[in-house]
């Protein structure tokens, strides 16, 4: 992660410089000011983080809430480090890795002045993991390993697991897992959909539906000295051109989701030194899924041919200039220790370094399968970045082995429906996660009977067996080996899916915004407590 100056971005002849972003403490943070940022959405469906999955909810309401643990705000790019927010120290698991005991800070108050205790933490987590009837929790499946959540006293929360797994702590650091007041959710578990009352760095001021949300500094915030800002204003602006123009005119300092390279270049060109850019690999990617229930995609040779035709290495380079994608990766996010190295990837079909050899093999397989000159439809989502760019690129790649592919672009609803009903030949799917949690994130490649949001329509007991082995392995080295076996089986042996280059998150912002650091997800590090304005 680094901050780039304007000059490096547009190559104005100045020597390329990448200034390593020093820690926020390198400069003394200044107090005061109001951060105005944009939320690239029309409005969140509700303010209940337990129920929603959209970033619009997080970008609107995360500053009002605390969580139990989180990615470190000073180093959110880390894929392995987690720190306490409400707890006093990160616990060592006991009971063979099945019990985690958290001590809760004694100095935390909700914004209504009442004390936050372990009972509130446990009640919130109960709502997330074991929602009562009639209550929607979007992440129940993330916590399949959790057996019980207990609060034996006001300062202790205990999580008991069914089996030890390295997936638990990252799952616990999910940015939607806000801590609510037990008294409120006991009375009305839906209350937090329309109301905001947390214990985070900012107190809720106002919400103008579809327009803006405002917060003011919480003077009783338990991380002493923070937040630095007096307040914030989040303005909803779904259209990218509005957001870019607003940043150009300094109507807003930044947005937290990400812009395409062209918007970055435009802003940097106009803004000069007043605009800085942070960028990072993004824990999101497009997965190309052939429908195994449709001929000829039931034939592994045809699926392998689709993979072998694609030049990931050159494609990623070229696409990164126009679309929000950049790094080539396997099923695991490239920044994770569990991810394949370049050398390991190059052993997998579709990642071979010699593209001519790869395409020759693809043609041979198609001929052998009797699918030469195959014509099919690539179903895609009506979203420019990066869906349509990726789709168009793939069609060009497949043409090189004689395939005729037509792109069918659908609005979000029909696109989902096409995947869920299996009415597609090949589809551009997406896998976008928050905390980097490879063990859970790679569940997407399991058969649909195990993981309902896997749309390939295949049954594969071997895949399940390899995944389960990796899921329950707690030794890092052995787990890495298990992950490679699962990856090789998924992408190479069975060619269940093609992983296209991972998304790339580009955040241009006014240079006076300090203290915020980019993470591999637009859901993370959004409580704004570290941000200060150098004005």
């Amino acid at each position: 992660m680094y901050v780039r100056t304007a000059a490096t971005c547009i190559g104005l002849g100045v020597a390329a410089i990448a200034i390593a972003a020093g820690p926020a403490g390198a400069q003394t943070p200044k107090r005061g000011g109001t951060l105005t940022y944009m939320i690239p959405a029309d409005s969140p469906p509700s303010f209940d983080g337990h129920r929603e999955t959209t970033f619009a909810t997080v970008h609107s309401a995360a500053p009002f809430y605390s969580v139990l643990i989180r990615v470190p705000p000073d180093n959110p790019a880390s894929t392995t480090e987690f720190v306490c927010d409400l707890c006093t120290e990160m616990p060592e698991p006991t009971d063979g890795g099945k019990t985690y005991t958290f001590k809760i800070r004694p100095d935390v108050k909700f914004h209504d002045g009442s004390k936050l205790t372990a009972k509130d933490v446990a009640a919130s987590w109960q709502k997330i993991v074991f929602p009562p009837e009639g209550v929607t929790s979007a992440r129940v499946s993330y916590y399949a390993m959790v057996d019980k959540i207990e609060a034996p006293d006001d300062s202790t929360v205990v999580f008991r697991l069914k089996y030890p797994t390295t997936a638990f702590l990252p799952a616990l650091a999910d940015p939607f897992t806000w801590i609510y007041k037990k008294e409120i959710i006991d009375k009305d578990p839906h209350w937090y959909q329309k109301n905001i009352m947390g214990s985070g760095p900012f107190k809720f001021v106002s919400y103008d539906i579809g327009q803006s949300i405002k917060g003011t500094r919480n003077p009783d915030y338990y991380h002493k000295g923070k937040p630095y800002l007096d307040g914030f204003v989040g303005i909803y602006a779904a259209k990218q051109s509005v957001r870019v123009e607003a940043m150009r005119a300094d109507r807003a300092a930044m947005e937290f989701r990400g812009v395409p390279p062209s918007a970055r270049d435009e802003l940097v060109k106009e803004g000069g030194k007043e605009i800085v850019v942070q960028d990072s690999d993004w824990n999101c990617g497009n997965i190309i899924t052939p429908n195994h229930k449709k001929k000829p995609f039931d034939d592994v040779r045809v699926r392998r041919a689709l993979m072998l035709a694609v030049d990931q290495w050159k494609g990623a380079q070229a696409l990164s200039k126009i679309a929000i994608v950049r790094s080539v990766g396997g099923i695991v996010f490239p920044g994770s220790p569990l991810a394949a190295t370049k050398e390991e990837l190059q052993q997998i079909a579709g990642y071979w370094p010699d593209i001519e050899k790869s395409r020759a093999e693809a043609k041979r397989l198609l001929k052998e399968a009797g699918a030469e000159g195959l014509s099919f439809e690539l179903t895609n989502r009506n979203v420019d970045q990066p869906y349509k760019f990726v789709g168009t690129w793939l069609i060009g790649e497949w043409k090189k082995i004689g395939l005729n592919v037509e792109q069918k672009v659908l609005p979000t609803g029909p696109w989902f429906q096409a995947m869920r009903s299996g009415s597609f030949d090949v589809v551009v799917d997406a896998n976008c996660q928050s905390v980097v949690n490879p063990v859970l994130d790679t569940g997407k490649y399991l058969p649909q009977s195990v993981y309902p949001e896997s749309y390939g329509g295949y049954e594969d007991p071997k895949s399940v067996e390899l995944y389960q082995k990796m899921l329950r392995e707690t030794d890092p080295k052995a787990q890495r080996v298990a992950m490679r076996a699962y990856e090789k089986h998924t992408l190479d042996t069975m060619a269940h899916a093609i992983v296209t280059p991972y998304w790339y998150r580009i955040i241009p912002m006014q240079s006076y915004v300090k203290g915020w650091k980019i993470s591999p997800s637009h859901y993370l590090n959004q409580d704004l407590a570290n941000i200060w304005l150098d004005k």
């Binding site: 469906p45 929607t136 103008d208 539906i209 327009q211 123009e245 005119a249 109507r251 609803g413 989902f416």
Partner: protein
């Protein structure tokens, strides 16, 4: 006249019913639903149990006839339901946005009337002169230019001009403040969109005013008025313009109704939280309740505006009587 109004209002009922049936069926023919979009739009895992619970809560599993009868009964009892996306009452969602769209529509209409009628009249009275040609070029350019494109261009122009002039780019505010709270901020935000929309609106009206005036000026009664020695100003204002305005008023009414829900792209370009933007959002999210309500609002606006236009006819032309 009262009987006429009542009759027209009663005739509106089948129109609204037809629109309701049409929008109801069309929305349900689109594959997918709000629950899958809502719970899966993040791109992460979608819990099928959560989707099923959401569908049940929203009544999406009910048979279509049941849903349609519910929809009709709720409207009869003036309960427009809750948005499937936000859970807020539909009436509240619309009430928040309506002032923005109304303000733009009213401003654009004022701009259109102020420019179109005088220029259209002058153009007709000075037919085939350089003035007429200039007005026609302005009008054709206005019709040919989409207002959203003009909106984007005008914003870019404002940014570029202020940047060149002061070294710091400026643009209108992007967060709406009501007129009564901060008139300067409000007007600086809505003026540019009103001008860009008003330009196209006035272009259409200008052309119609011109052609209507040309037609009226060739009528026998105008010739008679001239032969009586009336002043040209009186002939134009009292005899020609008033009669020529009949089709113009119809056009202004239709355009005004269109502006209430039709500024889909312009509202997005200027980040205006209006009805047009809400309609796009509702359709994208497959929020059937909200989409139905917005379509009904737009249909009702058209029906009401047409009625007002018809009533205005009597004032403009006393020969028209209602029966």
């Amino acid at each position: 006249m009262h009987r006429y109004v009542v009759k027209r209002l009663l005739l509106a009922v089948p129109t609204l019913l037809g629109a309701a049936a049409l929008v109801f069926v069309l929305l349900r023919l689109v594959p997918g639903d709000v629950c899958v979009i809502r719970l899966g739009s993040g791109g992460a895992h979608v819990d099928p149990a959560a989707v099923a619970a959401c569908r049940e809560t929203l009544g999406l599993d009910d048979p279509w006839p049941v849903q349609f009868l519910d929809f009709l009964w709720n409207y009869i009892s003036l309960d427009f339901g809750n948005s499937m996306w936000s859970g807020n009452p539909v009436a509240h969602e619309i009430a928040v946005r309506l002032p923005v769209s109304l303000q733009i529509a009213i401003l654009a209409t004022i701009i259109a009337i102020l420019f179109a009628i005088p220029l259209g009249t002058i153009s007709a009275l000075r037919e085939n002169t350089w003035l007429d040609h200039a007005v026609r070029v302005i009008a054709i350019a206005g019709i040919a230019t989409p207002s959203f494109w003009l909106g984007i261009m005008s914003l870019v122009l404002v940014l570029d001009i202020t940047y060149l002039a002061t070294g710091k780019a400026w643009m209108p505010p992007i967060d709406y403040v009501p007129l009564w709270q901060d008139p300067v901020r409000n007007l600086s935000m809505v003026l540019l969109p009103a001008l860009t929309v008003g330009y196209r609106y006035s272009a259409v009206t200008m052309r119609l005013t011109r052609s209507a005036m040309l037609e009226v000026m060739r009528e026998d009664y105008i010739r008679t008025a001239r032969s009586k020695g009336l002043l040209e100003q009186i002939i134009v204002n009292r005899h020609a313009l008033k009669n020529a305005l009949l089709p113009v008023v119809t056009l202004i009414g239709i355009e005004f109704a269109f502006l209430i829900g039709g500024l889909v792209v312009t509202e997005q370009v200027f980040n205006l939280n209006g009805i047009g933007r809400l309609l796009v959002l509702a359709v994208q999210n497959q929020d059937n309740t909200l989409t139905q309500a917005l379509v009904m609002l737009i249909v009702a606006t058209f029906v009401f505006t047409n009625l007002v236009v018809d009533l205005l006819y009597a004032w403009l032309d006393p020969r028209i009587r209602f029966s």
